[in-house]
Symmetry: C2
Subunit: 402 residues, 2 copies
């Protein structure tokens, strides 16, 4: 009530976003955001939705009719893919090897269903044998199996197919978190037999945060339509949302128009680049960063062979102030990297090379800046070795745009 | 999967948004949306959040510590103010005189609480005597009373204070929907004793849709913290969200950065205009439109004396094709107005004069265009009389900007 007289212009500092998202946003996407708003039932806007859905299907590699952008961030997508299928008393196998698997288990509990947790330590993948055991010992039918494709808290890149097959064998729906993976590594919804997948916009798609792409198989839709009771969330109820995104165009809630504009443009950019080219770019940039960090003598915390290219977790050396290093990078260079979450809190940095941020110049910059920040902390590492190791890999990335 | 080769530039047509929201967005807000994205935990972004909260408190006229923008549209705000306080078995008195009151009752049911519905016909206000009766006959303690300030489906402007006082007398929390009212007519959260209010950004605040301002009293926070079980929605759980918006700055989900930029700018514009001036502008513009429509011989459907200035429901004359008139306005002039919802479906138009759309030129334009559309439908009305009646009222609106 006692607001000051006047507020200044919005002038956020220039950043280089190398955290776990948001990633840097392409100026074309920013321009799309500034496009005048039209109505959520305007025929021209419905066309924009249709195109966005077509692009989302290409991103998810699916023919799923029910493919939408939920009007909330990735966590809203997570909640969507759980609350629409679970009812009180159901059992759900939830794979937990980081913060986001844990979040899934938390949401499952809030539905009144029983989470059967299959866990692995931070930095390790989930072992399909453990999922098999959990399914066998669940003591009753399992309604769904939930897995994180790329754990944003650990940088672990989980193989999906074996666990998807196990879910199918047991007649369970298979739910996959692709928040960090979509647009950065292949996501094969139809081929893998994923029944519900969700993602975010601010990771490898490089749109601003605010929407959650969600796709649902016809098998999962049947489970939704056969529910005994209403979905506990009105806002996330897919049985109503599919009527707005579908042919009925029935009003549910007012779609976030500008965010849809942004998502469409971000997907269009990915489509123009070519999804395979985009994956290759993420792979090389990530590998370069990881080679540089190791050459610097730092430890990578994700299990070898399962390291995500777009999110690298690196151990904080003994005696180094984790937060001070981040503050140094931010204040000196405007570079954002993140600290650890959950079991990795205080012990790790998370460096993201996602979407528009996945480019050679950012690798070179962050390696040089990190070496400097460590030196300031009294820890001398070889910037030289790091930059050379990275440059060798970066030589494989097509030049230009840097 | 079979996306076409290429997608064209985003080129939505130029519209004049005179529906029930979204309203036209000020170019300053569009520009704010195009501001580069920074991280959701960046100290500079936290400052933007603090300023946004300060402005939201001024808008809601409250000192409530827990004042935030939820990362979803107005309906997410509605769900937030219900699911955070209700537990299975609770009773909630819900006032229903339109679609949005009905939606509240639906959400209450989904929490496992029991809605005690107090209803009034579409177009009429809720009678406080009916609320009093419901509270007395509820057969047990009532956890909350929920009311819509301005029913977007009917254009009815509900007096709040008597019902707020009744809730307080009965020890119930008082929840108020201010989706359409905030920024257009006075909303006095602290003075009226509102325990939880929610709004939208795309109505009288004239930001794009996508966020829901929410404010919660300390009394309601105590109810939240005393819950026996977790809030059923993880995404909308205020006990976690207050830690991100509060001093802890604990990560919950990634805030929709660009939408917060937009909301801050929209609130700043309102703050510069002055809230009282803004209310006066809405009042005069709405009164002019209503005078014009009546002079045209059309019927206003909201109860006299309780007509919202920013949303006018008008009866479709016998024999006129409701949808054809809307299509005419849209295709001929790019003017968006809306049809009726719920009981008013097919029987009403809804014309919004909200925020940036609440300006003299839009009144004159829509009256002239509507008279023309009716003429095309074979229904001759006097544009002359309508325009004169409106002009008399519009003469009171400060000139300029039109």
């Amino acid at each position: 009530m006692t607001a000051r007289e006047s507020f200044g212009d919005l002038r956020p500092p220039a950043r280089v976003l190398l955290g776990p998202g948001p990633s840097d946003v392409d100026p074309r996407v920013l321009r799309a955001m500034a496009t005048p708003v039209i109505g959520h039932l305007d025929p021209e806007f419905l066309r924009v939705m249709d195109e966005t859905r077509e692009l989302l299907r290409a991103a998810f590699r699916t023919e799923n009719r029910l493919t939408v952008a939920m009007s909330g961030t990735g966590s809203a997508g997570m909640e969507t893919t759980l609350v629409n299928f679970l009812e009180p008393g159901d059992k759900a196998v939830v794979c937990v090897n980081g913060v986001f698997g844990q979040r899934m288990a938390d949401i499952v509990e809030r539905t009144g269903a029983e989470p059967v947790v299959v866990s692995a330590p931070y930095g390790r993948i989930i072992d399909p044998a453990d999922v098999k055991k959990a399914l066998a010992q669940a003591g009753g039918p399992v309604k769904l199996v939930a897995l994180v494709h790329l754990e944003t808290s650990t940088g672990v890149w989980q193989p999906v197919e074996d666990i998807a097959a196990l879910a199918k064998e047991h007649g369970a729906l298979f739910v996959l978190d692709t928040v960090t993976s979509l647009g950065g590594v292949p996501v094969e919804v139809d081929r893998w037999g994923v029944d519900a997948a969700y993602s975010g916009t601010q990771k490898c798609l490089s749109a601003p945060p605010g929407l959650s792409p969600v796709t649902v198989s016809d098998r999962a839709r049947q489970v939704l339509h056969a529910r005994a009771r209403k979905v506990q969330s009105w806002y996330l109820d897919l049985s109503m949302i599919e009527q707005y995104w579908g042919d009925d165009r029935a009003y549910h809630h007012t779609a976030p128009i500008s965010m849809i504009y942004a998502l469409r443009e971000a997907l269009r950019i990915a489509h123009e680049e070519g999804w395979e080219n985009r994956f290759a770019r993420h792979r090389r940039v990530g590998r370069a960063l990881q080679a540089g960090l190791q050459a610097m003598g730092l430890e990578l915390l994700a299990q070898e062979g399962f390291r995500a290219p777009m999110l690298t977790t690196v151990g904080v050396p003994e005696g180094v102030d984790e937060a001070a290093v981040r503050r140094y990078l931010l204040s000196r260079y405007g570079i954002e990297i993140a600290g650890g979450l959950g079991d990795f809190r205080g012990r790790a940095w998370r460096i993201g090379t996602m979407g528009h941020s996945a480019r050679p110049r950012n690798v070179t910059l962050v390696l040089a800046a990190l070496a400097e920040a460590l030196r300031v902390q009294g820890r001398r590492v070889s910037a030289e070795a790091a930059l050379e190791a990275a440059a060798d890999v970066l030589a494989e990335v097509p030049a230009g745009g840097g």
